[in-house]
C-alpha cells in the first residue's frame, strides 16, 4: 500500500506524573465530586417534590433547584472531570511543562470564578432559567458572564492540550502521537468548535441584552446557536468514556488494544458527525425548515457507524483476551472477565446501559417519532441512562484508579468491594428511576415540571404512581452518591499509601502500523468545518432573513 506508516512510540507511553501535576489534576476532580454531592441532593429533592409527598422548605422554588441540578451536573461536573482526565492522559503520554501547568492553573481559576458567579445568581433566585437558559427568559447578567468565563477557561485548558501534543511531536518527528493524546485532541477540538456557538450566543446576544444594551433578542437564533453546541456537548461527555473503554479497559482485563487505527477512525467520525446535527433538538420548532431538519437527522445517524465500530472493538478485545488466557468454549471468555474488579465492572455496566440508551437516542432523533417523546420525561429518562449512567459509571470506574494514582494511595480490596456495591446501587436506582421516566413519558408526562395534578385529569393521575417510583429510584441513587463521595474521600485522603497503576493498554506486538494520514489535523478540521457549513449555512441564513421582531426580556416568569 502507498500509505505512509508511522513509527510507534512505545517508550514515551508512560511518563511519571509529578506531585505538582497531581495537585493540578486533582483540583479539577475535586470540583467534580463536590458538584456530584450538591447536584445529587437536588436530584433527590426533585424526585421527592414530584412524588407529591414533599414540599421544599423556606420558599425555595422547584425550578431553582432544577437549574442547580442541570447546571452543576450537566455542565460543571462533566466539564471539570473531563478536563482533569484529559490532563492526566496527556501528562502520562506526552508530558506537561511547567509553563503549561501554570497556564492550566489560570484556566482552572477562570473556570472557578465563572462557576461561582453563575452559582451565586442561581442561589439568589436570580437565574431560575434551567441549564438551557432559553430566551426570552432573562437571568441576572452575572449568570451569563459566569458561563462565559467557564467556557473561556475550558478553551485555555484545551489550548494547553494542543500545545502539549505539538511540543511532543516536535521532539518526536515522524512518530505517531500516542492514542490517548490523539483522542484528547479530538475531544478538545470538538469542544472548542462546538462551544463557539454557545459562546457567540452568550457574548453577542445574551450579555448585552441582559444588561439592557440591546433591547431585543432573536430567540430562534439563540436556540439554534445553543443546540449547535448542545448536541456535541453530549459527545464531549461520551468520548472520555470511550477513551477509557478503548485504552484503559483492555489493560485492566489484561489485553491489548484491538486496533489503533480503528479507534482513531471512530474518534474522527465522532468529530465529523457530532456537530452538524443540532436541529434534531429543534424538530418540533416552528421556524426551522423541515428539509434541513431532515438533512441534519440523516447526519445525526452517521454516528451509528463509529458506535458500531466501538461496540465491535470492545467485545473483540474481551474475547481475544479471554481466549489468549485459555478460556475456551463459546462464552468462557465472557465468564472470566474480571467481574470483581470495580475498575472493570462500573464501566462495563455503563456499556450495557448504552444499549437501551442508544436505542432511545435513535427514537428521539427520528424525524417523526420525536413528536411522541419531545419534552416528555422520557427524554429525562434517556439522558439519565446515557450521561448519568454510561458516562458517570465510567467516570467512577476511572476514579477508582486515577485518584489513588494521583494521591499516591491504593485502591484497597475493601474499597474495591464498596465500589462494586456502589455500581450495583446505581444500577438498581437508575433502572427504577429511568425506567419509570421512560414509561410515563410515553403516556405524555412532561419533563421540567414540578408536581401538578393538572386539574385532576385521569391521565395526570396515572402519572403520579410513576413519579412515586422515580422518588424510590432517586432515593436509592442518592445513597449511591453518598457512598461514592465516601469512597472518593477515602481514596483522596485516607487510603493506605502505595502505588496504583495508571492502566493504558498497548498495541499487539505484530499490530498493523497506523496510516500517517491520521496525523493530518488540517484535513480533519477542514472536513468538520465543511460539514458544519453544509448543514447550517442555508437554514441559518433562512432563519435570519425570515426573522420575526425580536423579543424583549422577561423577568417576571422566573420570579425576579
Amino acid at each position: 500500500m502507498g500509505i505512509a506508516k508511522l513509527e510507534d512510540a512505545k517508550s514515551s507511553q508512560s511518563l511519571p506524573i509529578t506531585k505538582p501535576e497531581s495537585r493540578l489534576y486533582m483540583s479539577f476532580i475535586h470540583v467534580a465530586f463536590i458538584s456530584l454531592l450538591i447536584g445529587g441532593l437536588m436530584g433527590l429533592l426533585q424526585t421527592l417534590v414530584r412524588s407529591g409527598k414533599f414540599e421544599l422548605p423556606w420558599g425555595i422554588d422547584y425550578y431553582q433547584i432544577l437549574t442547580v441540578h442541570g447546571v452543576i451536573l450537566g455542565l460543571v461536573l462533566t466539564t471539570y472531570f473531563i478536563i482533569g482526565f484529559h490532563f492526566a492522559l496527556m501528562g502520562k503520554t506526552v508530558g506537561i511543562s511547567e509553563k503549561q501547568r501554570k497556564v492550566t492553573w489560570l484556566a482552572f481559576w477562570v473556570m472557578v470564578v465563572g462557576t461561582i458567579m453563575t452559582a451565586t445568581t442561581i442561589l439568589l433566585g436570580e437565574a431560575s432559567v434551567l441549564y438551557t437558559f432559553y430566551a426570552p427568559l432573562r437571568a441576572h447578567p452575572a449568570f451569563y458572564i459566569g458561563l462565559a468565563l467557564v467556557i473561556i477557561g475550558s478553551w485555555v485548558a484545551g489550548f494547553v492540550n494542543w500545545r502539549q501534543l505539538y511540543v511532543w511531536k516536535k521532539q518526536n518527528p515522524g512518530v505517531k502521537s500516542p492514542l490517548a493524546a490523539f483522542m484528547v485532541t479530538i475531544n478538545t477540538l470538538l469542544w472548542f468548535i462546538a462551544s463557539l456557538g454557545v459562546a457567540a450566543a452568550v457574548l453577542i446576544q445574551f450579555i448585552p441584552w441582559s444588561l439592557g444594551y440591546a433591547e431585543t433578542i432573536n430567540v430562534l437564533v439563540s436556540r439554534t446557536l445553543f443546540w449547535y453546541f448542545g448536541h456535541p456537548l453530549v459527545y464531549f461527555w461520551l468520548l472520555p468514556a470511550y477513551m477509557a473503554w478503548y485504552l484503559v479497559i483492555p489493560k485492566i482485563i489484561g489485553g491489548k488494544i484491538f486496533s489503533d487505527s480503528l479507534a482513531r477512525m471512530s474518534f474522527v467520525l465522532f468529530l465529523f458527525f457530532s456537530i452538524p446535527v443540532g436541529f434534531h433538538h429543534q424538530l418540533t420548532e416552528p421556524g426551522v425548515d423541515p428539509t434541513w431538519k431532515f438533512i441534519q437527522v440523516v447526519l445525526t445517524f452517521m454516528v451509528v457507524i463509529p458506535s458500531l465500530m466501538t461496540a465491535f472493538s470492545l467485545f473483540a478485545t474481551f474475547e481475544i483476551t479471554g481466549r489468549k488466557k485459555g478460556y475456551g468454549g463459546l462464552f468462557g471468555w465472557f465468564k472470566h472477565l474480571p467481574w470483581k474488579d470495580v475498575r472493570f465492572l462500573a464501566p462495563f455496566i455503563g456499556m450495557l446501559a448504552f444499549i437501551p440508551g442508544g436505542a432511545g437516542g435513535i427514537i428521539n432523533a427520528s424525524h417523526q417519532m420525536n413528536a411522541v417523546v419531545h419534552n416528555t420525561i422520557w427524554v429525562t429518562g434517556h439522558f439519565h441512562l446515557t450521561v448519568a449512567t454510561t458516562v458517570i459509571l465510567t467516570f467512577f470506574g476511572i476514579t477508582y484508579w486515577l485518584v489513588p494514582h494521583l494521591t499516591g494511595r491504593k485502591l484497597t480490596p475493601q474499597l474495591n468491594k464498596l465500589g462494586i456495591v456502589q455500581a450495583i446501587i446505581w444500577t438498581v436506582g437508575m433502572t427504577i428511576m429511568s425506567g419509570a421516566m421512560h414509561i410515563v413519558g410515553l403516556f405524555g408526562a412532561p419533563r421540567r415540571s414540578s408536581y401538578s395534578e393538572y386539574g385532576g385529569t385521569e391521565q395526570a393521575s396515572e402519572w403520579i404512581g410513576y413519579q412515586l417510583a422515580q422518588a424510590v429510584g432517586g432515593t436509592i441513587l442518592f445513597i449511591g452518591i453518598l457512598l461514592m463521595i465516601y469512597i472518593f474521600v477515602k481514596l483522596t485522603f485516607f487510603a493506605p499509601k502505595g502505588e496504583e497503576e495508571f492502566p493504558i493498554a498497548e498495541e499487539e506486538e505484530d499490530a498493523e502500523p497506523t496510516p500517517a494520514f491520521f496525523e493530518n489535523w488540517k484535513l480533519w478540521i477542514a472536513i468538520t468545518i465543511a460539514l458544519i457549513l453544509f448543514a447550517y449555512t442555508i437554514p441559518f441564513v433562512d432563519i435570519i432573513q425570515n426573522s420575526p421582531p425580536g423579543s424583549k426580556p422577561f423577568d417576571f416568569p422566573i420570579g425576579r
Binding site: 420548532e285 426551522v288 445517524f301 458500531l308 422577561f554
Partner: protein, 167 residues
C-alpha cells in the same frame, strides 16, 4: 487500514439497516407528509391580535366545515387562552367529535412554551414570533390533558387545559 472480516460483516449489516431506516423516515417525511411542524409563519409577538386567528373572538374551537375544526390558542405565562364561553368565563375544556380533522394554531406574546396533547403526536414548541400549527385527525375517544411541556417559569406546571374526543 486493516478491518477484520467479522467487523466488515458487522459494519455492512449495521450500515445497511441504517440506510433502510433512513429511507423509511425520508419516505414518510417527503412522500407521506409526516414532517414535524415547521411552517415558518411569523407574527409580531407584541401585537399578536393583528393576526385574525388570535383575536379574542376567534380563540378556542371553531367549526369550519363538516368534520373540520380549528383551535386557536394563545399560550402565555402561565395560561392557555381558549377564549370565553357565553357567560364570559374562560374556556378550559374543548370537545371535538371523533374522526374530525383539527388544525391547532398556537402562538405566544411572551416566552417559549410547549403545547402537547398528552399521549398524542400533537406536540409543538411555541416560540415568540412564530405561529405553531399542526393539522391532525383525532381518532381515539377519551379525555386528553393539554400540557405545557417547555419550561416557561415558576407557574409552568399550572399551565394546562383539557380536550375531549367524543364518539
Amino acid at each position: 487500514m486493516h478491518i477484520h472480516k467479522y467487523e466488515k460483516i458487522w459494519l455492512i449489516f449495521g450500515i445497511s439497516a441504517l440506510v433502510i431506516f433512513l429511507v423509511i423516515l425520508g419516505f414518510g417525511a417527503f412522500w407521506q407528509g409526516t414532517h414535524p411542524q415547521s411552517h415558518g409563519v411569523t407574527i409580531d409577538p407584541e401585537n399578536i391580535e393583528a393576526h385574525e386567528a388570535f383575536q379574542e373572538d376567534n380563540l378556542g374551537l371553531t367549526k369550519v366545515g363538516d368534520d373540520k375544526y380549528i383551535v386557536n390558542i394563545i399560550a402565555s405565562a402561565f395560561n392557555y387562552n381558549l377564549g370565553t364561553d357565553e357567560d364570559g368565563t374562560p374556556v378550559k375544556h374543548i370537545r371535538i367529535p371523533k374522526g374530525a380533522t383539527v388544525l391547532f394554531q398556537v402562538t405566544t406574546p411572551d416566552v417559549v412554551h410547549g403545547f402537547n396533547v398528552a399521549g398524542t403526536n400533537v406536540n409543538m414548541m411555541v416560540e415568540p414570533g412564530y405561529i405553531s400549527s399542526l393539522e391532525t385527525e383525532l381518532n381515539k375517544p377519551g379525555e386528553y390533558t393539554i400540557v405545557c411541556n417547555e419550561y416557561c417559569g415558576v407557574g409552568h406546571h399550572m399551565m394546562y387545559a383539557t380536550l375531549e374526543v367524543y364518539e
